[in-house]
């Protein structure tokens, strides 16, 4: 069974559209994350939720809105997509909030292409 699963794997859409990416973890972890990996493979945190509560919100446009209906799910909704949003988005989870040495489990990524 996949530990962290995100859908869809690929997302191709037009500029201005609204889209969502879903993520689920079956590890029983308390904390979930969204990371963005750009074309140069730089991985940067966007959001972090601990037990459905937002704890990290990096400088991300308001067009990005995470939602955590329960601690096993963290979805990402993006409004009015722009060309610069094209990237690979990774969902991840950890047992608890990352302190010193928590291991992150990553999903296999969603490649978003905005045309």
């Amino acid at each position: 069974d996949t530990a962290v699963s995100q859908t869809p794997k690929y997302l191709v859409t037009q500029m201005g559209n609204d889209k969502s990416i879903k993520c689920e973890q079956n590890l029983g972890h308390d904390t979930m994350y969204w990371y963005k990996q750009d074309s140069k493979k730089f991985l940067k945190i966007m959001f972090s939720y601990n037990n459905k509560e937002l704890i990290i919100n990096e400088t991300v446009p308001n067009r990005f809105s995470p939602k955590s209906p329960d601690k096993a799910h963290l979805n990402l909704h993006i409004n009015s997509l722009e060309l610069g949003d094209s990237a690979v988005y990774f969902c991840a989870s950890s047992l608890r909030v990352t302190v010193r040495s928590e291991k992150l489990f990553f999903g296999s990524g969603t490649q978003l292409s905005v045309l």
């Binding site: 990774f90 010193r100 040495s101 990553f106 296999s108």
Partner: protein, 114 residues
């Protein structure tokens, strides 16, 4: 803002060669992790180092955390094609209490040719 610089950015070697990848910062991290990412997949944790000067070995991979906890290195002995991938170092912020998050380096893309 704490930044992690990785070098080299790209590395292409022949099977059997040794290599070292470096991860440097001017800031102190409470711990440092190394991940490997293969195409089309998410990063997978290889190791976590916590104590300054710590050395950990994972088969042919040797990881070292600098004494001052500002830098780390990954040494691979007798590289194999299966070692090919993107190697990422990630440091846990040393401030912010329990709300720390991982800062990732920009990665080293390793290609091992048979």
């Amino acid at each position: 803002t704490q930044l992690l610089e990785q070098s080299p950015q790209f590395l292409s070697i022949q099977e059997g060669e040794n290599l070292t990848v470096y991860c440097n910062s001017s800031s102190v991290f409470s711990s440092l992790q190394w991940y490997r990412q293969e195409p089309g997949e998410g990063p997978v944790l290889l190791v976590t180092v916590v104590t300054g000067g710590e050395v950990k070995k994972l088969k042919r991979l040797t990881f070292q955390f600098g004494d001052a906890r500002k830098d780390s290195s990954l040494h691979i002995t007798a590289a194999q094609p299966g070692d090919t991938g993107l190697y990422l170092c990630a440091g846990a912020q040393s401030y912010g209490g329990s709300q720390g998050n991982l800062i990732f380096g920009k990665g080293t893309k390793l290609s091992v040719k048979p």
